[in-house]
Symmetry: C2
């Protein structure tokens, strides 16, 4: 491990360099068209070293998915910090998510546009990262609800339900945000807060909507 130049970097640093280059090249070229030569060159690391660390192009792609997924999960964990009210935590979580999408455009393309279209091991890693994100959001919802009696009382299932709805809505909105450059992360977060929180608050206060039962009860 002694020597000059690139060889002196610790393995972890070199791995991150390769993943950074991988995310950029995969995002630009697509998974199938991307070649390891270009990634190695961009990372300023030899091609055999890329294979030594990641085994294959697929292995590197999976490492990219994992790193990007972990970044997202960390954002939610930080949002769930102590001393914030429920709506502040939700706002912080949604901001972290849409902020990640806008700031890490290449990572988002790999994670949301390319990875879900692959099969096999890659699909399995996408599922794992999605589950980790979901677990972090469930914690965020639980932590936000712990101050407000109703949801906390009803236990984990309500938090799971809300987390699945939020993650699904936010995932779906990433594509919409990308198609509308005027819709900044802050604007999209505010839209979603208005849609779900102003509602969630009333549910927490005990208000319950009931489906129409024969008569058209719901007025304007």
């Amino acid at each position: 491990m002694s020597g000059t130049g690139r060889r002196r970097l610790p393995r972890q640093v070199r791995e991150q360099q390769i993943i950074d280059a991988g995310v950029r090249v995969f995002s630009k070229r697509g998974y199938h068209a991307a070649v390891v030569d270009e990634i190695a060159e961009l990372a300023d690391i030899s091609k055999p070293m890329v294979y030594l660390y990641f085994g294959s192009k697929e292995g590197l792609f999976i490492a990219c998915i994992r790193r990007e997924g972990e970044r997202l999960t960390r954002g939610f964990q930080e949002a769930a910090s102590a001393g914030k009210s429920a709506d502040e935590q939700l706002w912080a979580g949604l901001s972290a998510f849409f902020g990640y999408v806008a700031a890490t455009r290449d990572g988002w393309v790999v994670l949301y546009r390319q990875a879900p279209e692959q099969g096999g091991e890659i699909a399995a890693e996408v599922r794992r990262q999605r589950e980790a994100v979901m677990a972090a959001v469930v914690e965020l919802v639980r932590s936000g609800a712990s101050g407000s009696g109703a949801l906390a009382e009803r236990g984990g299932r309500d938090a799971e339900f809300v987390a699945h709805a939020l993650v699904g809505a936010a995932d779906s909105l990433t594509g919409w945000m990308a198609d509308h450059p005027g819709e900044t992360p802050d604007k999209v977060t505010l839209r979603l807060m208005n849609m779900v929180w102003v509602g969630m608050r009333n549910v927490l206060d005990g208000e319950v909507w009931v489906p129409p039962d024969g008569d058209s009860a719901a007025g304007e």
Copy 2:
């Protein structure tokens, strides 16, 4: 086209028979493990006929995705029928969706669990069906909002936003519903109505949540 037995069925009927069998076998075996022999046998149609109609196993799988996607889209279009208030339309749309998922379990497995893990042409068809579903939901939201001034005034973009959030939330909740047998389509629909509608109604009335701006404005 004259003759006896299976040959007398019109092409469209035979195609639907093959698609029915395809959805059942794909759902049970998975896309890669499914074999056309089993599908042909279940449909009581010769294997060459399956290839004549659909070209390949991939072609048949794509036809299955299309048929299931169209069923879903039709459910939303019916929900957007005249003479219903906004919340009744939303309730009907969500009921149609979660009802489809529960009643057409094989179709849902193909559309939501198997198809998204494939690449190429299959992924393209999944995208097309998703876009068609989205367009139907945008129409549903628009039609529901047309009676209430605020959203209708603000035009198509709000309806698109709400539709993306709803479709994403509902898609994500299908997996959660499948993992919790006690959560019937009606219960899940009611949960989602409470989460988003009780909120949406207040937004339509002009209530706006604003993010915390330094001070912790949001109450408990």
